[in-house]
Symmetry: C2
């Protein structure tokens, strides 16, 4: 096995699937599974064996014909590919409930993602604590970023203030934005953005429930 985490131009859909492979492989390890075929691993994730092999081929050659993958090896390789040997410093911008939930989530820290400072615009929130951190005024964000090298800005602010904050982050060299703000943001091409759209997900759920209910009614009608 040989991995080459340095490949570029990896399609975004592969970038989205890597964490899923990582998650399933850990689940397998925790369940004591030592090896798995590409067909079986693919099936668990919802891709074909050949899709899985193609995804991994961006990074080197893994597994053995007729044997499949050693779960712990592949887990470690994907962990390397994801860059999880590194420590990421994050700042939280917007220290409401959602921001607090993220800052306090043990799972992120365990994987090397540390919230090292928290900011907010609301005078009632400034000075309160998020875990061990004291929430700082947003107008001190830029000065902070000039002093401390930060990898990721976590945006848990309302839509209207988001772009201004992003501009500050980008100007100060932050290369990753994790945005929960329900709005598009503009960044230069060397800055990566991931969005979590909570409302979109909830609305999709409602729509699919409605579809399922219509289906159930029709089935009942047919059975009658």
């Amino acid at each position: 096995m040989a991995s080459d985490g340095n490949k570029r131009n990896v399609p975004i859909r592969v970038a989205r699937r890597l964490p899923i492979y990582y998650r399933f492989l850990r689940e397998l390890m925790e369940n004591g599974v030592e090896r798995i075929s590409s067909a079986e691993l693919g099936a668990r994730i919802g891709v074909t064996a050949s899709q899985l092999r193609q995804d991994l081929s961006h990074f080197g050659s893994f597994g053995q014909q007729g044997y499949g993958y050693r779960v712990d090896d592949l887990y470690r390789e994907i962990s390397d590919i994801l860059g999880l040997h590194q420590r990421y410093k994050m700042v939280l911008i917007g220290s409401g409930n959602l921001g607090r939930a993220i800052a306090n989530y043990e799972g992120f820290r365990r994987r090397g993602f540390h919230v090292v400072a928290a900011f907010d615009a609301d005078p009632d929130v400034i000075g309160t604590r998020v875990g061990v951190l004291e929430v700082q005024p947003i107008d001190q964000l830029e000065e902070y970023l000039r002093r401390i090298k930060i990898h990721i800005g976590v945006l848990t602010v309302p839509a209207h203030g988001a772009q201004k904050v992003v501009d500050t982050l980008v100007r100060c060299g932050v290369k990753g934005i994790w945005s929960f703000a329900p709005v598009r943001i503009q960044v230069p091409s060397d800055v990566a953005v991931e969005h979590i759209h909570l409302s979109d997900s909830l609305l999709s759920l409602a729509f699919r429930m409605r579809q399922a209910a219509i289906q159930a009614e029709e089935d009942e009608f047919e059975d009658a």
Copy 2:
């Protein structure tokens, strides 16, 4: 224009895009835009004009050749298709920071999604307040669901307890699960599930930052 929200077998990718259309149309309305072509609306969302028309064709015929869409009409139609004229009652299972953030998020209430009860397994959390709600012991969930008709269960529990909670929800007739638990859950075909995988999103971001950094280094090398 005629909408038919009763169409079934709508592909999941269309179910995922409808909320995005909805969100962009509202943004357009707020910016005073009265009409838009399918090419322009598609471009904002990242689909082609023909993809957009095909998505909407699942629900009836919208817009006019050579005119495009009236923004407010299409917004209203999509709002209907999504089922947003309805009121959804949700229970929160897991009343930690993330659960609290969701329960207190005004945007969900505004669209008709109301958290009406909160549960937790932790004796330190039971009895505390989430907004106006008092957190109830998880072992009273089933009895509660037998009394009150609930549409959606919001799962903000750790991975290991998730399936048991889901089984209770399903047994009591809840038809929608919005899960933040980092684990697969099993449900019957008439129950809809939407996942938010926070860790997957953060790991994708880290990976893409790494890719962008490699790219930037190579560009620098070529420029030298």
